[in-house]
């Protein structure tokens, strides 16, 4: 296992950054932001993993493995991050809809009335 989950998480983040920098459609930018969120959530969950550990629940824990639990705190951090990601993605998409209604286009290089 080793560092493989972390490498995949950072790869997702880099793919998301590539989307944000080089794609022209506003919806694709939102998907890029969502990719970065997924990468970061994967990174957080992978932080807490302990090899051959069990879920961090004390009730009915098998006694042989009761001291080898995965860390619960990163799981809490990830849940919070998923909820925040949901709220921001919803807000971004609703703004994109209204922008399309006003500008007639979703091209990020055309939506630039605020410049200079």
């Amino acid at each position: 296992m080793g560092n493989f989950p972390f490498v995949v998480a950072m790869l997702l983040v880099i793919l998301g950054l590539y989307t944000l920098l080089f794609k022209r459609n506003l919806i694709k930018l939102v998907i890029g932001a969502s990719l970065i969120e997924t990468g970061v959530n994967l990174f957080l969950v992978a932080l807490g993993y302990r090899t051959a550990g069990i879920a961090p629940i004390y009730t009915y824990a098998p006694p042989a493995l009761a001291d080898r639990m995965v860390l619960p705190t990163p799981q809490a951090l990830t849940l919070t991050s998923i909820v925040i990601g949901l709220a921001t993605t919803a807000l971004l998409l609703s703004f994109a809809v209204v922008i399309h209604r006003h500008y007639g286009t979703l091209d990020v290089r055309e939506v630039k009335e605020l410049k200079g």
Binding site: L20, V40, F43, T80, I84, T88, L92, V98, V111
Partner: protein, 518 residues
């Protein structure tokens, strides 16, 4: 009374949250009841802010810790644990200072909103978002836990973007809100990656706990870099400042003032990371000089681009971005010299921190006056306005006070803080002081352009009436703060700014000891 002052830090965040959920229900009873409820909650929040600040500043200067769910409220290490496992609020001198700034801006913006949105609908959505934003800003400034800071940072971002795009029939405000939300999302994710790295290295996310364990290893430095860039972007430091121009320029006038307070809270987060979290553990020279270079770039680009603008609010937005450069310059000089600790380093910190309250009051006053001008003349284009000063004498006078104060004209408060910044940055490097003074003069030129185009000259527009009384009273409140802080700077520097500067400059050990004990 004792229970109130003990629980005041958490009530300061809970009261606006409660207000945010009560106001939509109360708004069904009519706009007068809604305004009364909003006013009561705002005054309550401001009093709690004053109470928290008074408790911390009147004490010995040690940070006061509030642990959620602990039985004596400062029990940070229960049952002999070595790691603080609960979320805690830790209010020291710097936090108390930021809380007072936010409370001042909150009261002024809410009072202004009553008049500004008088005949408009949508109030039942506007005030809850405003209260959520205020709760998040207070939470950012009080918390002692990094993940709690991240959560409040995101809440503030979502509420702020909802308020920026509040009028959906203007396409530009939606564009500004989309850009701001996208950038806030990216910076929040950078902060979360940094938090993940720190958690993986050290096993905790409490600021005091991390401060005692962080070192100069590669992963810690990666986390530092991510945090510095993400929080600097949210504060509006060049070259990542362009969202701030769109956001401040397109938001409704009272929201621009509160957005400035939110950017200052992100700047506070940057200072907390630099001084308290990493402190002397990282070799400061290269990063410190880079921050100073960015601050000088911010203040120069902000002011010179402001000269080109036709839109009054975008022009003041450029002014707001340039003032963030002054704050970062002062504290950046303090950070760069925090190894050798010369006397001018502390003076620079005092100047930068004093400029935060001066800028909040002056820029708030200017944004509110620009809103009054927009409401009275119906346009935001400086080329079409003229002669508003004939009918709007009070607004013109208050705008002049704010503009002169921000440009650093004595005897207003901008001069006191800018004097401290000029003299200490001159000791660091003379070029910094030269560019800073030049930018101040250019800022005076910029506001002279606005004043002449909007207020002076013959009457060019019809039907111009003075701003309504609520708007004038809120602007007068900020102007009184400007004048009083300007005439008695010594008192405010001793009582408010020096504890804040000491808390950052020297207070790292006290901060860690308040949580980890011994």
């Amino acid at each position: 009374m004792n229970a109130l002052s003990v629980h005041a830090p958490v009530l300061l965040v809970a009261t606006p949250l409660l207000a945010a959920f009560v106001v939509p229900l109360v708004a069904k009873l009519g706009s007068t009841v809604r305004n009364a409820v909003v006013g009561v909650f705002t005054l309550l929040t401001a009093s709690l802010a004053g109470l928290v600040a008074a408790n911390v500043l009147a004490g010995s200067g040690a940070p006061s810790v509030y642990v959620f769910g602990a039985s004596p409220l400062n029990l940070t290490l229960p049952s002999g644990m070595h790691v603080p496992i609960r979320i805690l609020f830790e209010v020291d001198g710097m936090s108390a200072f930021m809380i007072l700034i936010t409370a001042l801006v909150a009261v002024a913006a809410t009072l202004y909103s009553f008049s500004y949105f008088k005949e408009h609908s949508g109030g039942e959505m506007y005030y809850p978002l405003l209260f959520l934003l205020l709760a998040a800003i207070f939470g950012m400034e009080e918390t002692g836990d990094l993940f709690n800071f991240f959560v409040f940072l995101e809440i503030a971002g979502i509420a702020a973007c909802g308020l920026i795009g509040f009028r959906p029939w203007r396409g530009r405000s939606q564009e500004a809100a989309f850009k701001t939300m996208a950038l806030y999302t990216l910076s929040g994710l950078f902060v979360l990656i940094a938090l993940g790295l720190l958690y993986g290295q050290h096993g905790g996310l409490n600021i005091a706990y991390l401060s005692s364990r962080v070192g100069a290893e590669m992963l810690d430095l990666v986390a530092l870099g991510l945090l510095v860039v993400a929080l600097g972007m949210k504060a509006g430091v060049a070259p990542m400042h362009m969202w701030a121009l769109d956001a401040y320029g397109e938001a409704p006038a009272p929201i621009s003032a509160v957005l400035v307070a939110s950017s200052q809270a992100s700047l506070y987060g940057l200072f907390r990371v630099l001084f308290t979290l990493f402190g002397a553990a990282v070799s400061v020279a290269a990063l410190g000089w880079f921050l100073i270079a960015l601050s000088v770039l911010t203040l120069f680009v902000g002011v010179t681009m402001a000269l080109l603008q036709k839109d009054i609010k975008r022009l003041i937005a450029y002014g707001a971005v340039s003032q963030i450069g002054y704050m970062l310059l002062g504290v950046g000089v303090g950070f760069t010299t925090s190894g050798s600790r010369p006397a001018y380093g502390f003076v620079a910190m005092q100047g930068g921190i004093f400029h935060m309250v001066n800028d909040a009051a002056c820029i708030g006053l200017l944004f509110l006056a620009a809103g009054a001008v927009h409401r009275a003349s119906g346009t935001r284009d400086l080329n079409r306005m003229g002669g508003l000063g004939h009918d709007m004498k009070w607004t013109a006078a208050l705008f002049a006070i704010g503009a002169l104060a921000l440009a650093g004209v004595p005897p207003f408060n901008g001069f006191s803080s800018k004097l401290l910044i000029y003299e200490s940055s001159f000791a660091a490097s003379p070029i910094l002081a030269a560019i800073a003074i030049l930018s101040s003069i250019l800022l005076l030129a910029v506001f002279m352009k606005v004043f002449q185009a909007a207020f002076l000259g013959p009457r060019l527009l019809e039907n111009v009436r003075e701003a309504s009384r609520g708007m004038l009273v809120s602007m007068l409140m900020l102007a009184v703060v400007v004048v009083v802080f300007g005439l008695f700077p010594g008192f405010f520097v001793d009582k408010l700014v020096t504890p804040a500067a000491k808390a950052l400059w020297l207070g790292r050990d006290a901060y860690v000891r308040a949580v980890l004990g011994g």
